[in-house]
Symmetry: C2
Subunit: 135 residues, 2 copies
Amino acid sequence: MEAMTQDLFPKAPDAHALERGEVLAPRFDANGLIAAIAVHAETGEILMLGWMNAEALSLTLSTGKIHYFSRSRNELWLKGETSGQVQLVVEIRVDCDQDAVLVKCLPQGDGGACHVGFRSCFYRVVEDGRLVERP
Amino acid sequence: MEAMTQDLFPKAPDAHALERGEVLAPRFDANGLIAAIAVHAETGEILMLGWMNAEALSLTLSTGKIHYFSRSRNELWLKGETSGQVQLVVEIRVDCDQDAVLVKCLPQGDGGACHVGFRSCFYRVVEDGRLVERP
C-alpha cells in the first residue's frame, strides 16, 4: 500500500507545499486512506462520506467517476457499478492538510447515493438524543 | 478507548437498528474515531473535515460546540478555543452506517474555519492535475 501510494502521488516536502502548493500530495493514513466527501454539484446536498486509497483517487481523477475503497469489503469500488448510481465528477477539492477531498458530482441512475434508499446517507438528525429521519 | 466508547454510546445490535433505528450508536474505527463534516448552517458551505472520538462527540452533543479529536496532537480539542472560531451546533446528522456525522454549525469569531486563513479548508481545486486556489 505504501509503495503504491508513493508511485501514484508525491509527498509534500514541507508544510508550505502541503498547504499552499500546487502539487496534489495527498496524505493517506496508516491504512492508506483519505476521507472523501461527495456533494451534489447542483443542489449542494452532502450525499455521502467514503474512503479512497491512492488507486481510487487516481481512477476518480482519470475516469471522471468517483471510485472509493470499501473498508468493510477491503476492495476498490466504482460507485454505481451495480446500483447504477454512478457519481460523475464535476470538481475535486482538497483540504489544507491534504487528508480529505471534496468531490462535487452528479449522481446518475435514480439520483440517489445511499444503499438504504435515501438520496443522501445523512437522512437522520440527532434530536434530544434520538435519531429521527428528516429530509 | 474501547471501554470509554462503550460507556458513552451503545452498539447497534444489528444492521436494521444501525440503519433505521432511533438509537445513536456510532461505529468508531480501530483508533476510536469517526469522521465529522462541519457545514455552515446558513450558507451550506463545507467548512472542514475533522475527527471525533466518543468523548468529542459526547461533548459536542452536550455543550452545543463542536469538539474534535486531533490525530496529529492526539488530544481532544474544542474548535475555536484559541482561535475564537468556535462552531456552534445547529444540527447534527449521522449517516446510514453511523461512521460519520454531519454537523451544521455557525462559526464564531471571524467566521472562518481553517488555520491557513481561508473560510473553508477546501480552498483548492484540482485542475489538470495541479491545485489552484478558488473561492
